[in-house]
């Protein structure tokens, strides 16, 4: 019995240590995010595309609802899309691919903590700074547009989970692509391909519900929709119970696929890592 107790305490000790390490990474990442706040503001300004879409669809819907979206619904959709994109954004693909290519990854490999945890935390740590910059921008737009309509119901309790899953999915895809840098020279540019599809198919520019029926059905099964469209539609209350369940199931599925792929590429990649640069 006694050794079981020791094991248990070892387990909680390990968890407590992981908690401390995670918190320390978060603090370091937050300090860096603050040091780069100007760069982040510029980046946020380059991702205001949903707000442009908002202006466009808002005026188009002046003549009546389009595909179930009236002016107020469009406002809710694109404001949510803007904020959720900010919350689920990651830049690990550029950071990690550059570290692999330059050999700077060596620094992370010498620490007794998983390098990928470092990247997750440095992305997450930027969230508050990012929100401090993005939310006022969204509010200003809201004041200008005026009308907004979204259901405030129980589904709002599920929204954080969907946003978290979407973030993990984005991060997994980015890590998988970044790990290609172990073998090829410029893996990050491959990600541009993914990003191009994401812009069109995720519901970032246009709600996927407005696509032609056959196309919409296919698109809503893809990982792009799971990474943005689903959490957005869930947040503004456009989904029924079964649709919500299906959305979460798809998020889980894609997360499992890309998470496994990312870890596999990471492990294979370390075997060929060159640790270049003296």
């Amino acid at each position: 019995m006694s050794h079981v107790a020791t094991d248990m305490s070892g387990e909680t000790g390990g968890l407590r240590r992981l908690g401390r390490v995670t918190a320390a990474m978060w603090r370091l990442g937050a300090s860096e995010a603050l040091a780069y706040r100007a760069a982040m503001l510029v980046w946020i300004l380059t991702t205001t595309f949903p707000l442009v879409s908002l202006a466009l669809w808002h005026s188009l819907a002046g003549g009546g609802a389009i595909g179930g979206y009236g002016r107020a619904e469009f406002t809710a959709y694109f404001l949510a899309a803007f904020v959720i994109r900010q919350m689920t954004a990651s830049w690990v693909v550029w950071d990690l691919a550059a570290q692999i290519a330059s050999g700077d990854l060596s620094t992370l490999l010498m620490r007794p903590v998983h390098p990928l945890l470092h990247h997750l935390m440095s992305n997450l740590a930027a969230l508050p700074v990012r929100m401090m910059l993005a939310v006022p921008l969204g509010l200003v737009v809201l004041i200008f547009v005026g009308d907004v309509e979204a259901d405030a119901g129980l589904h709002l309790l599920l929204a954080p989970a969907a946003v978290l899953m979407a973030w993990l999915l984005n991060v997994s895809v980015q890590i998988a692509v970044a790990c290609l840098a172990f073998w090829v020279t410029s893996s990050a540019s491959l990600f541009e391909l993914w990003l191009g599809l994401y812009m069109v198919l995720s519901g970032y520019a246009v709600p996927t519900g407005l696509f032609p029926a056959g196309l919409a059905a296919v698109v809503r099964y893809l990982p792009f929709h799971a990474a943005l469209g689903f959490p957005v539609e869930l947040t503004i209350g456009r989904l029924s119970g079964p649709e919500i369940a299906a959305g979460f199931a798809l998020q889980l599925l894609w997360l499992a696929v890309f998470g496994a792929l990312a870890l596999w590429l990471w492990r294979r990649g370390l075997r060929v890592y060159g640790a270049v640069g003296a």
Partner: protein
């Protein structure tokens, strides 16, 4: 004594793409890429005991840094076995990483835009350092390296030497049992080189840590490392003390003296090989066994002064060693 580093028949090959110069070759390489296998380390075997200070010497591309990276777990060996502090480095067990440290002159672990003290605090948590130990070690390192004020400025604003001192603090806060130093003094002025050298020696003596150093500055290695491993073409060429290497490459010792009158040419020929006789100054290369007799004879000269017997400088010995090997194995 149980070895702390054990390397057996270690090999590392890199497969690198190669092509001729020019656009045509670049286009051809798109369709049929050609590779060359570079053997960076070949059949390397050695072992190191706890508390040793060992220098890796060799020309550029000899495999020193590749070996160091395999010892610290950054590179997977192609074949052979490595054990460091009871671990297989490439598995990167947290316990292993907590017992070693790697400092690279050309790489940094400090966050570029934050003060170094932020990285120190971060390492305290990540390396699980007890708060009291951390305080004590930080105070000690900071006063030894005189970085009390420096560590509070953003790293990007530090000079090369200040930055390297902070790197050393970050690397040593967890009191590693093994310290790998890859060109730690590169690009530094002589005063800074001296202070870093002295600091590393002190760390080794006070903590009993094993130190492995690669450096292009022979003085670094000569002053710091009682034992050297000469690596060339990925292979071990020599393992022993600098004195032993010198004796092997340049067995004769050089004696010089000033005197009012010098012995005759025949008498000199009996002592050793004459290098220089000029204006009362005599320089001779002497067999080691004959040094005592020759020294006695030289001291007995009328008006003898400035008698010196010394080994050839390490720099010269190394040049001689690599020249001989290049001659012995043409085409490499």
């Amino acid at each position: 004594m149980e070895p702390v580093v054990e390397v057996r028949a270690l090999c590392k090959q890199f497969r690198v793409p190669r092509r001729e110069a020019g656009l045509g070759a670049a286009l051809r390489a798109l369709f049929r890429r050609q590779y060359t296998t570079v053997e960076a380390v070949r059949e390397l075997s050695f072992s190191l005991g706890a508390g040793e200070r060992v220098g890796f010497l060799g020309p550029n591309g000899a495999g020193k840094t590749t070996t160091l990276k395999m010892l610290s777990g950054l590179l997977y060996p192609s074949s052979g076995a490595v054990q460091v502090a009871g671990h297989v480095p490439a598995q990167r067990a947290p316990e292993f990483l907590r017992s070693i440290s790697l400092v690279m002159g050309q790489k940094r672990q400090l966050s570029w835009d934050l003060p170094a003290v932020d990285t120190f605090e971060f390492n305290r948590v990540v390396f699980d350092i007890d708060a009291r130990d951390y305080r004590r070690r930080l105070d000690e390192l900071v006063s030894l390296l005189a970085v009390g004020e420096v560590m509070r400025r953003p790293v990007r604003q530090l000079s090369l030497g200040e930055r390297m001192k902070c790197e050393l603090v970050a690397a040593l806060l967890h009191a590693p049992r093994l310290l790998f130093l890859d060109e730690p003094t590169i690009g530094m002025d002589v005063a800074m080189q001296l202070s870093i050298r002295e600091f590393v020696r002190r760390y080794n003596v006070e903590h009993g840590a094993t130190v492995i150093l690669t450096s292009h500055y022979m003085e670094d290695v000569a002053a710091l490392c009682p034992r050297i491993l000469v690596i060339d073409g990925g292979q071990l060429r020599f393992d022993g003390s600098i004195e032993a290497l010198t004796r092997r490459i340049r067995p004769l010792r050089r004696a010089s003296v000033r005197a009012d009158s010098l012995p005759s040419a025949e008498a000199l020929a009996g002592m050793g090989r004459v290098v220089e006789v000029e204006g009362g100054r005599l320089v001779l290369d002497v067999e080691p066994a004959r040094v005592p007799a020759v020294v006695q004879a030289l001291i007995a000269l009328p008006g003898a002064q400035d008698l010196v017997v010394q080994d050839a400088p390490l720099e010269e010995v190394m040049r001689e060693l690599f020249r001989r090997e290049a001659g012995a194995e043409p085409g490499r």
